[in-house]
C-alpha cells in the first residue's frame, strides 16, 4: 500500500530570496527597534586604518556586534578598549552581505567612571613601579627659557590662556605651537607624536641644522589642554603620552585641566602646572625674577662702593688736614687723584646703565606688584632675603670701617705735628705757603702765617736776623689780622 505524499499547496507558498528575507529582517529590526542605548562590555575591539572601529558588546549571556565609523569615532572622547564597560547609542541594522545584525554606534560614554578610574590606577601603578615618576628623573626648568614648545589644540582654551599670559606680560619668549587634537579617539597618539616631533626638531636645531622650522633648540615644552570631563582629559592618561613625555629630552611642563585634575602626564612630567596659565607664568615669572635679582645686585654693588669711597675720601681729608709737618701733600694728592680716577670709573659704569635701568625699573615696579599679588612667594621671599642680607651687611661694614678710621686717626695723632705744637713749637709759612726753615726765606715787610697749637696768626717780618736759634724771635704778633680757626 502506498500512502500518497502530502501535497503542499504550491500556490500558497511564499518563497523569499535570501536578499529579500534579509531586507525584510533588516526592515523589521530598523522599524521595531531602531535607535537605542545599550550597555555592555567591549570585546574584540579593532580599529582599521580607515579609522572605523569594530567591536562586540557583551554581557553575561549575549553579545552584539557593533561598528563605530571614523566620523563618529572622532567625536568619542572615551578611550575604547577591551574590557571597558560602556553605554553605546546607535541604530540596530543588518549587514546584509553577512546576514548579521549589528549596532551602528553614534555615541559612546563610560558606564560609570569606575572603569576609567580603575584603568587610571592600573597604569599609574605600573609606570610608578617602572620608576617613571621618580623625583630623581625630574629636571629643573632651565634658568632662562627662551624657546618654548606647546603641544595643545590650536583652538582650545589652553593656548588662549597661555598666550594671554605671554602677551600681557611681554616676556621675550619664542613660542612654537605643535597643533594637536586633545580629546577623542587618536588624540593620545597625536600628542605623543608631537612631543617626540618637537624633540626631533629641537635636536636638529641644536645640531646646527638651519633647514628645520626651529631657529634654536627648545628650552621647555608645555603639554596640556583646558578643563573638561574625565573622558575629555583621558588622552593625558594614556600610556603613549606618558612614554613620550618620559622620553623627552626637553623638560616638560604638564598642564592639564584645572587645579584639581591630576593626570598620568602630570606625574611623569618634570613639572606639573595646575593650569595652562600657571605653566606660562612659570616661564615668564622666571624672567621677572631674574630682572629683580639683577636690580638688587646692582643696587647692592653701588651702595657698597659709594659707602667705601665716601669713607676713604674722608680718611684722606682727615690725613691732609692734620698733616702739617713736612706735609706729604704730594702723597695725599696722588691718593686723591687715584680716588678721583676710581670715582670717574664708577660714574661711567653707573651712567652707562642709568637710562636702561630707569626704564626697566619703571616697568618692573608694575610687574612686581602683579607678581606679589599673585602670591609668587618664591620671588618675594628671595627679595626679602636679599634685602635682609643688605640690611645686615651695611651696618656691619660701616662699623668695621668706622673703627678702621678711628684707629688710623689715633695713629695719625701720635705722629701728628699737633702733638709737637702742644709742646710750644710753631710752624711758620710764607704768604706763598712755603714752610719757613731759614731766615733767608724772609725779608722785612714779608707777611707770614704761623701755626701754633690752637690756631694760626699772621704777622709781618720786621728784622730778619741770621744765627739766632729762637724761632719765636723771627716774627711778631700784629695787632690786627690775627686769625685763628676759632675766631674766623
Amino acid at each position: 500500500m502506498k500512502l500518497p505524499e502530502p501535497e503542499l499547496p504550491l500556490d500558497t507558498r511564499r518563497i523569499y530570496s535570501v536578499a529579500e528575507l534579509t531586507r525584510l529582517v533588516k526592515q523589521t529590526l530598523e522599524d521595531e527597534v531602531g535607535r537605542v542605548w545599550v550597555e555592555g562590555e567591549i570585546t574584540n575591539f579593532r580599529r582599521q586604518s580607515s579609522g572605523h572601529c569594530y567591536f562586540t558588546l557583551k554581557d553575561e549571556t549575549a553579545q552584539l556586534g557593533a561598528v563605530l565609523f571614523a566620523g563618529a569615532a572622532r567625536g568619542v572622547a572615551l578611550p575604547l578598549a577591551d574590557g571597558l564597560l560602556v553605554r553605546a547609542f546607535g541604530e540596530i541594522t543588518v549587514y546584509e552581505p553577512r546576514g548579521q545584525y549589528q549596532l551602528i554606534v553614534r555615541r559612546v560614554e563610560a558606564a560609570g567612571e569606575g572603569a576609567l578610574l580603575a584603568r587610571f590606577e592600573a597604569l599609574k601603578r605600573r609606570l610608578e613601579a617602572e620608576g617613571l615618576f621618580d623625583p630623581a628623573r625630574k629636571r629643573p626648568l632651565p634658568l632662562l627659557p627662551r624657546h618654548v614648545g606647546v603641544v595643545t589644540s590650536p583652538t582650545g582654551a589652553a593656548i588662549r590662556d597661555i598666550l594671554h599670559v605671554v602677551t600681557r606680560r611681554f616676556p621675550n619668549l619664542h613660542v612654537v605651537i605643535a597643533p594637536v587634537r586633545v580629546q577623542g579617539e587618536g588624540a593620545a597618539a597625536e600628542i605623543a607624536a608631537a612631543v617626540a616631533h618637537l624633540n626631533a626638531l629641537s635636536e636638529r636645531a641644536a645640531a646646527g641644522d638651519a633647514t628645520g622650522p626651529l631657529p634654536a633648540p627648545l628650552d621647555a615644552l608645555i603639554v596640556g589642554r583646558g578643563g573638561g570631563s574625565l573622558e575629555d582629559l583621558w588622552p593625558f592618561n594614556e600610556e603613549a603620552v606618558a612614554r613620550a613625555i618620559a622620553a623627552s629630552e626637553i623638560p616638560v611642563i604638564s598642564a592639564v585641566g584645572h587645579e584639581t585634575d591630576f593626570t598620568i602626564s602630570d606625574f611623569v612630567a618634570d613639572v606639573r602646572a595646575p593650569t595652562p596659565s600657571a605653566a606660562a607664568e612659570m616661564l615668564v615669572g622666571r624672567k621677572e625674577d631674574f630682572e629683580e635679582t639683577l636690580r638688587v645686585h646692582g643696587r647692592t654693588l653701588r651702595q657698597i662702593v659709594r659707602q667705601r669711597l665716601t669713607e676713604v675720601r674722608g680718611r684722606l681729608e682727615t690725613a691732609a688736614a692734620s698733616h702739617v709737618f713736612r706735609a706729604p701733600r704730594h702723597a695725599v694728592q696722588i691718593a686723591a687723584q687715584r680716588l678721583d680716577g676710581l670715582d670717574l670709573r664708577l660714574k661711567r659704569a653707573l651712567a652707562g646703565l642709568a637710562g636702561r635701568k630707569r626704564r626697566r625699573c619703571e616697568a618692573a615696579a608694575g610687574r612686581l606688584a602683579v607678581l606679589r599679588g599673585r602670591g609668587l612667594q618664591a620671588v618675594a621671599g628671595r627679595l626679602d632675603g636679599l634685602s635682609r642680607r643688605l640690611a645686615r651687611a651695611a651696618p656691619a661694614g660701616l662699623d668695621r670701617r668706622r673703627r678702621q678710621v678711628d684707629a688710623l686717626q689715633k695713629q695719625l695723632r701720635a705722629l701728628s705735628p699737633a702733638a709737637v705744637l702742644d709742646r710750644g713749637y710753631s710752624l711758620t709759612r710764607t704768604d706763598d705757603g712755603r714752610l719757613v726753615r731759614s731766615v733767608q726765606q724772609v725779608s722785612a715787610g714779608r707777611r707770614v702765617s704761623t701755626r701754633v697749637a690752637d690756631g694760626i696768626f699772621e704777622s709781618e717780618v720786621r728784622s730778619p736776623e741770621s744765627g739766632v736759634r729762637n724761632p719765636e724771635s723771627a716774627s711778631r704778633t700784629p695787632d690786627t689780622g690775627h686769625r685763628t680757626p676759632n675766631s674766623g
Binding site: 622650522p213 624672567k287 645686585h297 657698597i304 642680607r389
Partner: protein, 82 residues
C-alpha cells in the same frame, strides 16, 4: 652639544659669578682697587645678563606642514575668546 652651549652662552655662569661678587663685596674684606675692579665686573655681568634676558624677541608661531611635506612655522592667530 657644543652648539647647545653656544645657544646659552653663560647666562647661568654670569649670574653665579655676579652673586659671588656681591657676596665678596658684602664681606667687606677687599682693598679699594679690588673692590672697584669687582664693581666694574659686576656691572658688566649685570649688563650681560640683562641683554640675555631681552635677547629673544617675543614670537608666537605654529608648526605648519607644507604640501611638499616640508615643515615651517607661521605666525599663530590665537582663537577668539569664548
Amino acid at each position: 652639544m657644543a652648539k647647545k652651549e653656544k645657544a646659552e652662552p653663560g647666562f647661568e655662569d654670569a649670574l653665579k659669578r655676579l652673586e659671588e661678587i656681591v657676596e665678596q663685596m658684602e664681606g667687606g674684606e677687599m682693598d679699594l682697587d679690588a673692590m672697584v675692579g669687582a664693581f666694574e665686573e659686576g656691572q658688566r655681568l649685570i649688563k650681560f645678563c640683562t641683554q640675555k634676558l631681552n635677547e629673544v624677541e617675543r614670537r608666537i608661531e605654529t608648526l605648519v606642514r607644507n604640501p611638499d611635506g616640508t615643515e615651517t612655522t607661521a605666525p599663530f592667530d590665537p582663537p577668539p575668546a569664548p
